[in-house]
Amino acid sequence: MFDQNELTAFNEAVLPHLDAAYNLARWLTRNDHDAEDVVQEASLRAFKYWKGFSGRDCRAWLLAIVRNTYYSWIRKRSVQPELTEDGEIDEVDEGIPSPETALLQSADREMLKAALEDLPVEFREAIVLREMEGLSYKEIAGIATVPIGTVMSRLARARKRLQIYLTNSAMQKSL
């Protein structure tokens, strides 16, 4: 169904976003091997849907496929991702020391990585898409197929959790 020209067009449009695809898959799966599997499967799906893609934003399109591939992959493995109920920004910080800017700024890569990996998956993907891919709320909403308000609340809750995690681990480290 694909001639050589279309194959080349696909490669030129999609392959430059392989790093972004892998980064998202790697944060979702939290390991190298699974991330590669997801990206490979997602690329095949992208290839399959390529003809129906009108071609506005190839990166966002590919990231949406990576995300969908991850969720069907996780279902196949019957491992349920730890989904959290979406809602208002929760007041979970009762009794928890409020984060300190200095502590957050001193957080190193390993701490940040651990904090991110500890997030529920839908928070993690929101953070990755926002902070690492620089996508807008609207774009993230499109990829995660949720309303923009949900993206906003996920990001807020995710950041709150990250701050708490980082503050706690910074305090433990200093003990």
Binding site: E36, P99, L112, E131
Partner: protein
Amino acid sequence: MTCNENRKLLNPYVDGELDSAGSLAVENHVQGCASCSSDVDNLRALVSGIENGALRFKAPPHLKRNVQAAIRKANPTARSSFFQWRWLSVAASVVLIFALTWTVTLRRTQSSEEAQLVNDIVSNHVRSMMANHITDVASSDSHTVKPWFGGKLDYSPPAKDLTEQGFRLIGGRLDYLENRPVAAVVYQRSQHFINLFVWPSRRSEIKPEDQLSLQGYNVIHWTKSGMTYWLISELNLPELNECARLLQE
């Protein structure tokens, strides 16, 4: 705006997702509120920490290769059409070679005399070009070429001028085939020379036109009005056919 109301807008504010009115409202509140101001600082510290934390994973080099390989594998139509064309061309070549071999072999077995003639025609054609002696009379005028043969042969070969149709008459030559002198009328198409050998046919029956390739030369043969015609050139077959058609008109 209360702190609670403000807090809900802090993330979109930091992310630049508020419209200018909303952004201004948050700014105004933050300026007069130490708690919200520190929240903004914390958010910014976190965001820049993640952004600058070298947390991006880079795809391993082999992943790109694997993806490309998987796509090639998953695209059997493109691949197989490619291979089908290749096989088709190979098959076509085989058929062609077989057909030519068959034709030539058939000729050899049917009539070794005629096979010998074809070989001679090819040889004469090659020699006419090698010896830089393609014409005895060089002229694009059929009224010059035709009479020139008159005194040398006991028949009058045609010397049609086909210049307008893209086959330029360049002259005539005496040649020797089937133990007799024959007329060679020479045409040129771009850089290609075409020899038309003509002599009275010994056979009474009209043979259908036929063609074959030998040593890279195309040969077309027909008989008409008691004359036998052999047209030979390295020119491609369709064009040589066109030439034959014009000569037969």
